[in-house]
Amino acid sequence: MANKNMKAVDVVIVGFGWTGAIMAKEMTEAGQSVVALERGVYRDTYPDGAYPKTINELEYQQRFKLFQNLNKSSFTFRRKTGDSAIPYRQIAMFKPGEGVGGAGLHWSGCHWRILPEELRMRSHYEERYGKGFIPKDMTLQDWGVTYEELEPYFDFAEKMMGTSGTAYRVGGKVVDDSGNPFEANRSDNFPLPAQKEQYQAALFRKAAQQAGFHPFTLPSANASAPYVNQYGCQMGPCTFCGYCSGYACYNYSKASPNVNIMPALRKSALFELRSSCNVLRIELDSTRKKATGVTYVDANGDTVFQPANIVIASTFAYNNARLFLLSGIGKPYDPVSNTGAVGRNIAFQMMSTINAFFDPGKNINGFIGAGGNGVAVDDFNGDHMDHGPLGFVGGSPIWCNPAGAKPISGIAVPSGTPKWGRDWKRAVKASYLNTMSFDVHGANMVYRDVYVDLDPNYKDAFGQPLLRFTFDWKDNDIRMSRYVTDQAVKIAHELKAREIKVTVKDFGAAPDLRSYQTTHWAGGVAMGTDPSTSVVNRYLQSWDVHNVFAVGSGVFAQGIGYNPTGAAVALTYWSARAIREQYLKDPRPLVSA
C-alpha cells in the first residue's frame, strides 16, 4: 500500500531513456501532462560528461560508472529449462544502463534502420523458401508493421539525432552509389554528411571492394558538424576523442535524450521528471483490464502511487517483460505448454571478431575513434543472399567500427602472446599502432526454449524477483555466424596483414557471461498480429490492458542484424503517433484481436 498519493496526470512514463524521452516529447506536444519516472539518478552532459573527467577509462569503462548497480538489481541466467539459474554478479557480457538518458546517454551511436524483411520474418522466409524452411522450434512471427509504414519515423528520428551518413537511394532514385546498395528506399537524405573516414575503415573499405563486396559508410549518431534538430537542440561536431561507449559525450556530439530532447522538454510546463524513483509495478483496476497508474519507491524510500490515464512502459529492453510480469499484465509465457506471451521471443546478438596485425609502420592510430563511425558491408545481412543452400535463417552485417582503442581495453595482441611480462609488453608496443579489427554483428533468432520469467529464488533490493534468462546459443545462429565470418575472412585476406586472429563461436558454445558481447537484448514483450504469440499489437499497445503501451527493443519479435536503437526509436514515434491520432480521441483497443 502506497503511503503517498500524487496528483493524477495524463501520462506516466516508466524509464527515461531514448524511448521514454521521445514519448514524453510527443505526449507533451499533444497537450498531455506527463510525469516521467527514472530509477537511476539525474544525468546531463554537464557535469556527468564534463571534460576532462569523463575521459577516464578506469572509472567509466572498467568500473562502469554510468551503468546499473548490480548490487541493487540484477538478473539470473541458465541455459535451459530445469537448470537452476545463477545471478549475474558482475557486468561483463552485457552492460545494463540506467539513469536519466538511460543507455542512450552512453551508447556508441550506431544509428541504423531495419531491413524490411526483418519486420516480417515468418511471411518472408515462407514466401521465398517454403513453409518448411523455418525450423519448428524457431518462433519467428511478423511484427505487424511494414518498413513503408515506419519509414517517415526513421527519417524523423535521424533528423532528431543529427545522424551523419551517405544515402544510397532517396525517393526511389540512386543518389550516391557509394552508399549501401542493399538499403531500402528512403524519403530523404541524412541530415548531416557522413563523418570523416578513419584509416582502418578506409583499409577495410578497399579490402571489401577487392573481395567483391559493397562497402558503405556506417550511419553515425556522432554529428559530423554542428547541428540544430527539430526541437531546437544544439549538437557540436564529433572530434573523434574515442571515448564513446560507456561515457557521456563532453562535446554534445553524440546524440542522446539529454542533448537532443531534454532541453526542449524542460521548457514544457506539462513535463515533470522524477529521478531516483523505482517503479515497482503498474497498478490495474478490479477488472484487470485498465491501468490506474504506477507505484514506485522514491529517493527517500517512500512508496508512492502516481495515478495516470495512460502508462508507457519504456524501461530498458528486457525490463518491460519484468514489469509486465510483476504487474500481472498479459499471460506469462510457459515454454512447456507453449502458452502465454510475456517473456517470449528473447534474442541477443551473435558476435564474432577478426583482428588483423600488421608490421610496425602501418600506424593505424586506433586511439582516434568515434562510436558510430566506420564502414560496413551488408552483403550477408538479412536475406540479401540466397539462404536456400545455406541451411540457416538470418544474417549479419560486417563492419569496421573504429570507436577508439583505449589504454586498458584497447590492447590487442596476436595469439600466443603471454598474458604478462616482457614479451607481453613487447607485443603491446608492436601491436597497438598496427592493429585493426572488425566485427560480424549477427542477428539472433528466437526459440521456444529461450525466454525470460521471474526467478523463484533471487530478489532485488526492493524485494521483487529478479528477471531470469533461460538463454542458450543455437546451432542456427552459430551456423549463420560461422558462414558470414568466413566471408569476413575474405576481406581480412585482402588486407595483406601479417597475421589474422578470428574469434567465432563453435557449435555447442555456452553463453559466456564473463566476456563482453553487446547489450543488444530484444524481445520479452513482442509485438505481433496474434495475441497468443505477442504481448503488444502493431501500435505497441498491450492486448490485455489497452491504456498500457510498451516501447523499446523489448517489442522486437526477434533479433535484428543492425544495432536496435534505430528501430526501437522509430517504433516509438510510430506508437506515439497512434496514441496522438487515434487513442487520445477515443481510448480503446486499437486493433481487434
Binding site: D44, P47, K53, A202, Q234, G236, P360, G361, N363
Partner: protein
C-alpha cells in the same frame, strides 16, 4: 622504434608541405590517399555557421495565466490589451529578474543585490495590499518609476534603475501599472530589510543623490531627424532596457556617466566590472564593441545569446533568458539599429584575421606554452584556427570579449566554465566545463594571453597574479536543476 620516428617525421613533414592538397601519407600501403583537411579561413569570419530559423515568440511562464485567459476569447478586450502590453513592457524592463528570488513567486521580491555598502533586497511588487503595491495609486507608481521616491516617501537605491525608467511615456506607464496591479497574482511575501549597516543605511543621502544625479523625469523625446525605428530603439535601450545600468561606466558616486548618447560618447562604452565580469562596449566600435556586426547579428544575439562572433555568458544570460527572448522582432531590430548608430569612442583598429597562428597551431608547432595548452585543452572545441563551430562552440578569433585591455571575462570563463543561455529559440544551453582544477594560475595566464593575442586578436596579456585574484571568487558553473 627509429623507423617509427622517421616515418612519423616524414608524415608530419609531408603534411606541412601539402596542407592545401590531397596528400599521401608515408604508410606501407601508399595507394591509399586520404582527403585533405579543411583549409583555415583567410581574413574572413566563420564559414561554418548554420542558421536555425527563429521560432515564434513564446509566452513567459509568469504570464501564462494571462495568455491563457486571453486566448480563450475571440478577440482581446481593451482592458486585456492593456494588460498584455504591460506584460510585454515588464519583459522589456526585465522587472522579473530583480524582483524575484530563486524559487520564489514572480515579482514577490527577496533577491539579494550586491552593492558596495551591503546587500539590498528587492521588494514585493505584486498587488498584495500589505506587502506589495496593492494600495498604490497610478501616481504613486509613476513617481517611483520616474524619481525613485516610494509611496512612504523615501528614495530607493539606484540599483532600481529609475534614472532610465524616468523617460517612459505615460501610455507605457499606465500599461505597466495595470499589469502589476491587475494581472500579476498577489503574493504575501514580506519585504526583507537590507543588509546595510548604520549609518550607511540612512536613506536621506539617496534623496541628495537623486537631486544631484538623476535626470528630470521626462518622457523620451526623439532628437530631430530621427526616424521612427531609431527613436523606438533609443526609447527601449535608454528606457526600459536600462542597458546602461551595466554597460555605461559609473562615477565614484555611482551614477552612470551618461544616460543617453552625447558628445562624451561614454554611453554604453563598457569597460567596468559587473558581478565579476568585464562589461563590453555596445557602441559601434572595434576593440571590443559591435563594429562589424550586422543588425541581424545583433538581433540574433539578443534573441538567442549566440551569433557567429560570440556567445553570451555571465550576467547577460539572465537578460536574454528573462527579457530579450520575448521581444518582438521589430523591437529587437529597433534596438539593434540604435546600438549600431552609436559612434565609436575608443579609436581602435578593425579586426583582421591573422593566419600565422592558425597555421602554426594546425601543424602542431605551438610557439608558446600558452599555444601548447590551447592545442591540448581548447582546440577540440574552439579549433586551432580559433573559429569555433557555428553556434555550438563560439569563435575566439575576432571575439569582442578578447579585444580589450581587461581580460577578466576570459580568465573567469576559463576558471569557472560557462553556460550558454537557454531560450525558446535555442533551447540547449551548452556548457563549457571549468578548468580551475586542471590549470594553475600560470597556465591560465599563458592560455589566456594566447587567446587574447592569437589570430589577430588585440587584447591585453595577463599574469599569474591577475588569475590568482579572480580565482578567489571563481565558482564552477552550476549544474542545471533537473
Amino acid at each position: 622504434m627509429k623507423r617509427l620516428i622517421l616515418i612519423s617525421a616524414l608524415a608530419l613533414g609531408t603534411a606541412a608541405l601539402a596542407a592545401s592538397a590531397a596528400y599521401n601519407l608515408a604508410y606501407a600501403d601508399e595507394s591509399l590517399s586520404v582527403p585533405a583537411p579543411p583549409k583555415p579561413p583567410v581574413g574572413a569570419r566563420l564559414l561554418n555557421r548554420e542558421t536555425a530559423p527563429l521560432r515564434p515568440l513564446a509566452t513567459p511562464p509568469a504570464d501564462a495565466a494571462l495568455a491563457q485567459r486571453v486566448a480563450k476569447k475571440d478577440s482581446p478586450s481593451a482592458d486585456d490589451q492593456l494588460l498584455l502590453r504591460g506584460a510585454y513592457l515588464a519583459r522589456a524592463g526585465d522587472c522579473v529578474a530583480c524582483h524575484t528570488s530563486k524559487g520564489g513567486a514572480p515579482f514577490a521580491g527577496g533577491l539579494a543585490l550586491a552593492s558596495p555598502i551591503g546587500a539590498i533586497y528587492s521588494t514585493n511588487i505584486t498587488p498584495d495590499k500589505e506587502h506589495g503595491i496593492g494600495d498604490w495609486s497610478y501616481e504613486d507608481f509613476a513617481r517611483l518609476m520616474r524619481t525613485g521616491v516610494t509611496k512612504a516617501g523615501y528614495t530607493v537605491y539606484p540599483a532600481m534603475p529609475y534614472p532610465s525608467y524616468s523617460r517612459l511615456t505615460d501610455e507605457d506607464m499606465q500599461a505597466l501599472y495595470a499589469y502589476f496591479t491587475k494581472a500579476v497574482p498577489p503574493s504575501a511575501q514580506a519585504n526583507r530589510a537590507n543588509d546595510i549597516p548604520w549609518p550607511l543605511s540612512m536613506r536621506w543621502p539617496l534623496a541628495i543623490w537623486r537631486k544631484l544625479f538623476a535626470p528630470t523625469p521626462a518622457p523620451y523625446a526623439a532628437p530631430a531627424g530621427t526616424d521612427a525605428q531609431l527613436a523606438r530603439g533609443a526609447y527601449l535601450v535608454e528606457g526600459l532596457g536600462h542597458c546602461g545600468s551595466c554597460h555605461t561606466p559609473r562615477s565614484t558616486t555611482m551614477q552612470e556617466k551618461s544616460l543617453r548618447d552625447d558628445s562624451s560618447r561614454l554611453y554604453l562604452s563598457g569597460g567596468q566590472l559587473v558581478d565579476g565580469w568585464s562589461v563590453p562596449s555596445l557602441r559601434n566600435e572595434h576593440g571590443g564593441g559591435i563594429a562589424g556586426w550586422s543588425q541581424a547579428d545583433l538581433v540574433e544575439f539578443l534573441r538567442t545569446g549566440r551569433n557567429q562572433y560570440t556567445a553570451s555568458f555571465g550576467a547577460m544570460n539572465d537578460v536574454i533568458e528573462h527579457s530579450m527572448q520575448y521581444m518582438t522582432e521589430a523591437d529587437l531590430n529597433a534596438m539593434s539599429r540604435y546600438l549600431l548608430s552609436l559612434a565609436p569612442r575608443n579609436g581602435a583598429e578593425p579586426y583582421r584575421y591573422d593566419e600565422a597562428t592558425a597555421t602554426a597551431a594546425y601543424e602542431g608547432r605551438p610557439q608558446t606554452p600558452g599555444a601548447a595548452l590551447y592545442l591540448d585543452r581548447c582546440a577540440a572545441c574552439h579549433r586551432s584556427n580559433g573559429t569555433g563551430y557555428g553556434k555550438a562552440f563560439p569563435a575566439l578569433a575576432g571575439n569582442p570579449v578578447l579585444q580589450t585591455g581587461d581580460a577578466t571575462s576570459a580568465i573567469r570563463i576559463i576558471l569557472q566554465g560557462g553556460r550558454q543561455p537557454s531560450t525558446d529559440s535555442a533551447t540547449a544551453g551548452l556548457v563549457m566545463a571549468p578548468y580551475a582544477q586542471l590549470l594553475n594560475d600560470q597556465q591560465v595566464a599563458e592560455v589566456t594571453s594566447y587567446i587574447q593575442t592569437a589570430w589577430g586578436n588585440r587584447g591585453a596579456t595577463v599574469s599569474a597574479a591577475d588569475v590568482a585574484k579572480i580565482r578567489k571568487t571563481a565558482k564552477p558553473v552550476e549544474d542545471r536543476a533537473p
